[in-house]
C-alpha cells in the first residue's frame, strides 16, 4: 500500500512516516506544492495525506486537479484550520476524510485503513484476520462463522484496533476517538474500560484468540502477526 504524505512540517511528516512505515505502508513524502504535484502526476497512491496550507500553493488546488483527472487515490485532508467551510469544500471536491491538527497517529492510521478499505473494495468489503471476519458494509463481525453482536462503539473500537495492528494505543487516543470533542471535558477516561472489556469478552467468548493486550496499565495493543 502506497501512501503520499504532503506535509511541509518536517517533524510532523517524520512522525507520520515513522508510525505508518511500521504498518506495512510504503510512505513517500512531498514537502511543497510542486513536489506533491510531480509525484501525483507520475505515481498512483492508495492514500494521499494532504495538508491544505503548503508552500507554493493551496492544497485545495491539488484536490481540484485530482478530481479533474479522475484519479482514484484516496485523500485525507489534514488541516490546521479546522474550518467547517474547508471541510465541506474538501469533501465536495472528492476528499474521503478530514482530520484536524493536532491528532493522534493512531487516529490517522485508523482513518487511512478505512479509506483504503473503502476505495479498494467497492461492493463487498471484508477484513479477515485469523478466525475473525469483519464485514465493513453490513457492520457485522463473525468469529469462525458465527455472528457476534457488537454495539456501535464496540464495532468502532474493533476497527480502530485493526487499523493500528501491533501498535500501542494510549488511553487518551481511544477516549478521543470514542468521544470526539468531548474527550477532554471528561474527568477521567474510565468509560473506555467498559467498552474494551465488553469487546474483549464478546470476542473471546465466541472463540476468538485474545488479540487485545493491555500494556503498562494504560495502553492497548492489537497483536496479530
Amino acid at each position: 500500500m502506497k501512501i503520499l504524505i504532503i506535509e511541509d512540517e518536517p517533524e510532523l511528516a517524520k512522525g507520520m512516516v515513522g508510525y505508518l512505515a511500521g504498518q506495512s505502508y510504503l510512505c513517500e513524502l512531498a514537502t511543497d506544492y510542486h513536489q506533491a504535484w510531480e509525484k501525483i502526476g507520475t505515481h498512483h497512491y492508495d492514500c494521499i495525506l494532504l495538508d491544505l496550507m503548503l508552500p507554493g500553493g493551496n492544497g485545495m488546488k491539488i484536490l481540484d486537479q485530482l478530481k479533474a483527472q479522475n484519479k482514484e487515490d484516496g485523500v485525507i485532508i489534514i488541516s490546521a484550520k479546522n474550518a467547517l467551510e474547508d471541510k465541506i469544500r474538501g469533501l465536495e471536491l472528492g476528499a474521503d476524510d478530514y482530520l484536524a491538527k493536532p491528532f493522534h497517529l493512531s487516529e490517522l492510521s485508523a482513518r487511512i485503513f478505512s479509506v483504503i478499505r473503502r476505495k479498494n473494495f467497492a461492493n463487498s468489503n471484508f477484513i479477515q484476520q485469523g478466525e475473525l471476519k469483519v464485514d465493513l458494509l453490513a457492520k457485522t463481525v463473525e468469529v469462525a462463522g458465527s455472528v457476534v453482536t457488537l454495539t456501535k462503539k464496540e464495532f468502532d473500537l474493533l476497527l480502530f484496533f485493526m487499523g493500528n495492528k501491533n501498535k500501542v494505543i494510549s488511553k487518551s487516543a481511544l477516549a478521543e476517538h470514542l468521544s470526539g470533542d468531548l474527550a477532554d471535558m471528561l474527568d477521567n477516561h474510565d468509560f473506555i474500560y467498559a467498552h474494551i472489556k465488553n469487546l474483549k469478552k464478546k470476542l473471546t467468548e465466541a472463540g476468538s484468540v485474545n488479540y487485545l493486550k493491555t500494556l503498562y496499565g494504560n495502553g492497548y495493543k492489537w497483536q496479530y502477526e
Binding site: 510532523l12 484550520k81 497517529l105 494505543i169 477532554d184 471535558m185 471528561l186 474527568d187 494504560n218
Partner: protein
C-alpha cells in the same frame, strides 16, 4: 436630568417673567404721576371719586395691553428659540443616536452626517477617529487570537505525534508509559483550549452564518443520547415538553447545549440528579452544588470555578457568546442547593 433645549428656554422665560413683574409698579408710578401732572397743568379739578375711577380705568387698560404684548413677545420668543435651537442641535442628536447604536463587535464603522457647524463637524470627526481606532484594535485582537490558535495547531500535532511514537518503543517501562499518558492528557487539554479560543474568535468575527429552523426538543434529545454513554452513572430527570422551533446556526446551538449539559454533568457526583426541563422557549438545567458561583466571573474566560475540573475554562464563555449573537437570554441562579442555568430562546 433636563434637556439641553429646555434648559436655556426656562431661563429666558423666568427672566421675562421677572421683567414683567417689575414693570407693573413702574407703570403704576409713571402713569399716576403723569395723570396728576396733566390734571394740574390744565387746572382740571375732578371729584375724588371720578379721579380715582379714571385712574383705575387707565392703569387697568395699560396693564392689560402691556401684559398682552408681553405674552405675545414671550410666546414668539419661546417658539423661535425652540425652532432655532432644535435645528441648531439636530446634528448633535444625530451623532448621539449613531453612537448609541454603535456595536464594536459588528465591525461596521459609523458614518456621521456632515454638518456645516464647525464644532459639530469637529466633534464628529473626533468621534470617528476614536471609533476607527477602536474597531481596528478590536479586529487586530481577534485576528491575533485566530492566527495564534492556527499557528499552534502544527506544533501541537508534532508533540502529539512524537508522544505516539514514543509509546511504540518496546523498551518502555510502565512508569514511563504513565508519564506519556499524563503528558497526553495535558496536551489534549491544551489542544482543547486552543480549539475553543479559535471557536470564540470565529463566533466573534461573525462566522457560522448559516441559519436554520431547529426543533429544540430534537437537538436536546440527540445530545443527551450522545452524553448518556459517557455519563451512565449520573441520573438525568428530563421533562421535555415543547415543540419550540428556534432559528440559529445548528452547529453553534449544538455546541451551546452540549457545553451547558457537560457543565452540569461534570460538576455532578455519581448518582446525584440533574434536572432538565424544556417548556415552550425556556430551557432549565439544574444540578446540585455546594456554593453559589460568582455570577460576574462565571461566564468570563478562564474563570474555572473549582480547581479540580479539567475543562478548558472557556465552555461557558462560548455559551455566552453564542447566546449574545442570537439575543437569547442565559441566566444563572442558585436555589435550594442547586445551580440553575436558564436559557430563554
Amino acid at each position: 436630568m433636563s434637556k439641553l433645549l429646555s434648559k436655556s428656554l426656562k431661563r429666558f422665560a423666568a427672566y421675562a417673567g421677572i421683567v414683567l413683574a417689575c414693570s407693573i409698579p413702574v407703570y403704576y408710578f409713571a402713569i399716576s404721576t403723569l395723570w396728576h401732572y396733566e390734571l394740574d397743568e390744565h387746572n382740571i379739578i375732578l371729584t375724588p371719586e371720578a379721579g380715582r375711577e379714571d385712574t383705575f380705568f387707565i392703569i387697568g387698560a395699560i396693564t392689560l395691553l402691556t401684559v398682552l404684548f408681553f405674552a405675545l413677545l414671550l410666546g414668539g420668543f419661546v417658539w423661535l428659540n425652540r425652532r432655532i435651537s432644535h435645528r441648531l442641535w439636530q446634528p448633535f442628536y444625530h451623532t448621539l443616536e449613531k453612537i448609541r447604536a454603535f456595536d464594536l463587535s459588528s465591525h461596521t464603522a459609523v458614518d456621521f452626517e456632515r454638518s456645516n457647524i464647525a464644532e459639530f463637524e469637529e466633534l464628529n470627526s473626533s468621534i470617528s477617529r476614536l471609533l476607527d481606532s477602536n474597531i481596528s484594535a478590536y479586529r487586530q485582537q481577534k485576528e491575533f487570537t485566530e492566527n495564534a490558535s492556527h499557528e499552534l495547531q502544527t506544533p501541537l500535532a508534532i508533540v502529539q505525534s512524537k508522544l505516539d511514537l514514543l509509546m511504540q518503543d518496546s523498551s518502555l517501562t510502565s512508569a514511563q508509559a504513565q508519564i506519556i499518558e499524563e503528558t497526553n492528557n495535558a496536551l489534549s487539554r491544551v489542544s482543547r483550549i486552543n480549539k475553543n479560543l479559535l471557536l470564540l474568535a470565529k463566533i466573534e468575527s461573525q462566522q457560522f452564518l448559516e441559519l436554520k429552523d431547529i426543533a429544540l426538543s430534537e437537538i436536546l434529545q440527540q445530545i443527551l443520547d450522545l452524553l448518556s454513554t459517557l455519563f451512565a452513572e449520573k441520573v438525568i430527570h428530563r421533562k421535555i415538553d415543547s415543540s419550540y422551533i428556534v432559528k440559529g446556526n445548528p452547529i453553534l446551538l449544538e455546541i451551546m447545549l452540549t457545553n451547558l449539559l457537560m457543565n452540569a454533568m461534570r460538576h455532578t457526583f455519581p448518582r446525584q440528579e440533574i434536572e432538565l426541563s424544556l417548556s415552550d422557549n425556556v430551557l432549565v438545567i439544574s444540578n446540585p452544588g455546594m456554593h453559589e458561583l460568582d455570577r460576574n466571573q462565571l461566564f468570563g474566560r478562564f474563570s474555572t470555578a473549582s480547581a479540580h475540573t479539567p475543562g478548558s475554562g472557556l465552555g461557558l464563555s462560548i455559551v455566552k457568546e453564542i447566546s449574545k449573537r442570537y439575543l437569547w437570554n442565559v441566566n444563572y441562579s442558585f436555589q435550594n442547593g442547586n445551580h440553575i442555568f436558564e436559557v430563554a430562546f
